[in-house]
Symmetry: C2
Subunit: 355 residues, 2 copies
Amino acid sequence: MREIGIDQLDDMARGAGILGTGGGGDPYVGKLLAREAIRRHGPVRVYDIDEVPADATVVAISGMGAPTVLLEKLPAGTEELTALRALESVLGRPATHLVPIEVGGVNSMIPIAAAAQAGLPLVDGDAMGRAFPEAQMVLPTLIDVSNTPMALADDKGNTLVVDTISNVWAERLARAACVQMGCQVSCADTVMRGDQLRDGLVPATLTLAENLGRAVREARAAHADPVAAAQSVLGGVRLFTGKIVDVERRTTGGFARGQALLESVQGGTGKLELSFQNEHLLARRDGEIVATTPDLICVLDTYSGEPVTTEAMRYGLRVTVVAAPCDPRWTTPGGLELAGPRYFGYDCDYLPLAV
Amino acid sequence: MREIGIDQLDDMARGAGILGTGGGGDPYVGKLLAREAIRRHGPVRVYDIDEVPADATVVAISGMGAPTVLLEKLPAGTEELTALRALESVLGRPATHLVPIEVGGVNSMIPIAAAAQAGLPLVDGDAMGRAFPEAQMVLPTLIDVSNTPMALADDKGNTLVVDTISNVWAERLARAACVQMGCQVSCADTVMRGDQLRDGLVPATLTLAENLGRAVREARAAHADPVAAAQSVLGGVRLFTGKIVDVERRTTGGFARGQALLESVQGGTGKLELSFQNEHLLARRDGEIVATTPDLICVLDTYSGEPVTTEAMRYGLRVTVVAAPCDPRWTTPGGLELAGPRYFGYDCDYLPLAV
C-alpha cells in the first residue's frame, strides 16, 4: 500500500497522458479534478493487485465522451460519485476498491478524484494498459466479465444504468446516451472481484505512469532529451520527429475522429500520417504502415516531452511519435478482434513493432 | 372491478386505435400480444381510478419507438415484464397496478399483456387520453410527477434504467437508447400512488376505447355508417372525407414523421393535408388550419370505420378524418406548452375545435 498525494499528480498525469496514446482526456483538466479532491479529502491509498482481497468489489471509474468536448465543458466534479452510487444501488452492495478503466490524462485522474471523494482505496492497474475509444475494449471482455451494470452520470444530475447482453451493447447504449448528455459523462462499471484482477487488469500502470512522468520531468531538468527518457521507460521505438502540418478532426458519434499529417523539418523529406478515434490507431510513414493499434502510438512534444492529445494537435507543433508494445493479451486473436486495426475499418493486419 | 378477456380485445384495440390519432402502434400487432398473454395467463382485472387504494404503486407500461418499425419487427413478448422487473428492482418495491401510458393500438394492448403476465390488475385510464409521440407529454408532467425511474427493455435482453432531472430529459435519453435498441422497446415508468391518479390520468379510457370499438363494429353489422358511429362516441367533428393521394413518410430520430395529402372524390375539389410525428398533429383544409394538437385528429377507413395509423397510410385509401376535443387539461397554458402546435415547430396557436 502507498498513498497518492497532490505532489505525485503532475508526474502521474503526464505519464498517463503519454500512455493514453492521444486519448483519455486532457492531463491538465484531469489534474485539476484530482488535486481538488485530494485537497478536500486527503491522499488516496493505492494497493497492488496482489494486495486486494479475493472477495473485494472492485469498480472501474472513468469519463466517457469526446475529449474535444471535455476541453470546453469541464466536469462538475460530482459525476463520478453519482455514477458510483447508482451502480452500488443496483449491485446491492458497496464498492470496496476503485480502479481506472484506462490510463490517460483524465481517465487516470478521475478515479483518483472519485477514490478521494468516496474514501475508497484505488487499485494500481487499469483494464487496457493504454487508452481505447470504446467501452468493450477492456481485458475483462476477453475473460467474459461483463462491463454492465454500467452507471452513467452527467453534470446536470441525470443518471442511467445499462444492463446488456454483451459489452459491445453496453458501448452502443451508453455512447448514444452520452451524446445526448453532452458528450461528457462519468461511468462506474465493470465490477470485478479481487481474484479476477490478475486476468482483468494490466498491473501497476499508475506506478508506470508516475515513473514515466518523472523520467520526462527529470530529463528536462537535467537538460537531457525528455523524449528519449520516455522512450526508454516505454521500451518503445521512435517513429518520427517533425512538425504537424495538417489536422483534420471532427466530433462525430461521441468521438473525436480524424487524421494528422506530420512533415520532417530541417531539410528532411519524410512524412508521417496518424489516424485517430480519440486515440491514435495507425501510423503511416511515407505511405507505409509502421505501427497499428493495439500497440501504443504516443505523440510527444519534441522539446518538453509532454503528451500531445489528439484534441490538442494543431498546425506547427513540433512532435515526436514513439510506438511501444501493448500488453501481450491484446495481440492474441481475441484481443485483435476487439481492438485490432480491422475492427476500426483499416484494411490491414496488426503489425508487430520492430523493437 | 371488471375483467378483460379475449372477447373484448377486438373492440378495445379498434377503439384505442382511433383514440391513438394515428399513433400508438398497429392495433393488429397489439391484439396478438394481448390475446396470447390472456390465453396463457387468464383474464385481466380492471379497476376504476376510484377503486385503487391511495397507497397503491401504479406503473405505466408502454412501447416506445417508431410504429413503422413495429410493423416489421414484432416484439418478443417478454420485454414488458423485463422492463417492469428492472423498474421494481430500482424502486425497491413491487408494482401493485399497471396502467397504459397512452391509448393507441399497441399501447393499450401491451399493458393488458403485461398485466396478464405479471398477474397484476390494470387501471382503467391512461396518462394522455390519446397518444402523443414523446415521453414527457403526459398529465403527470403537469403535476410535477417524474416519469423516472424509467426502465427500458428490448427484444434482445438489454435493459436500461434512466433517472433524470426532468421528464424531457427522460425522453431524450430513452429515445437515443431506443434508436440503438432497434427503434422498438418496452418501457415501465411514471410511478404514481393511487391518490395521484385522479390528476395524473384521463379516467376510463379503456372503457371508452371498448365502447368506441363496439359502436363501429355494431354500425357496420347494421349496415349503418361506422364513421358516424365513431364520431358520435367521440363527440367530434367530421373534417374531411376523401382519398389519400400522397404520403411522405420517413423514420428519423426514433419517430415516423411525415405528411399526407387527401383529395376529395366524386367531383369534389377540396384537399386536406395532415402532418404527423407518430401521431397526427395538424390538419389543413384547403390551406387553412382546421385542427391542431392536442385535440384528437383521427383517420378512419371511410367504409369500415377502422383506424388508419400513420404508418398504414397509403395511396388510394378512402378515409374520413374526424377531430375530437382532448382532455381539457391539455388546453391549459402548461398543457399547450407541452404538446401544443408550437412545441412541434408549427407556427400557429392551438385552434379550439368548432364542435
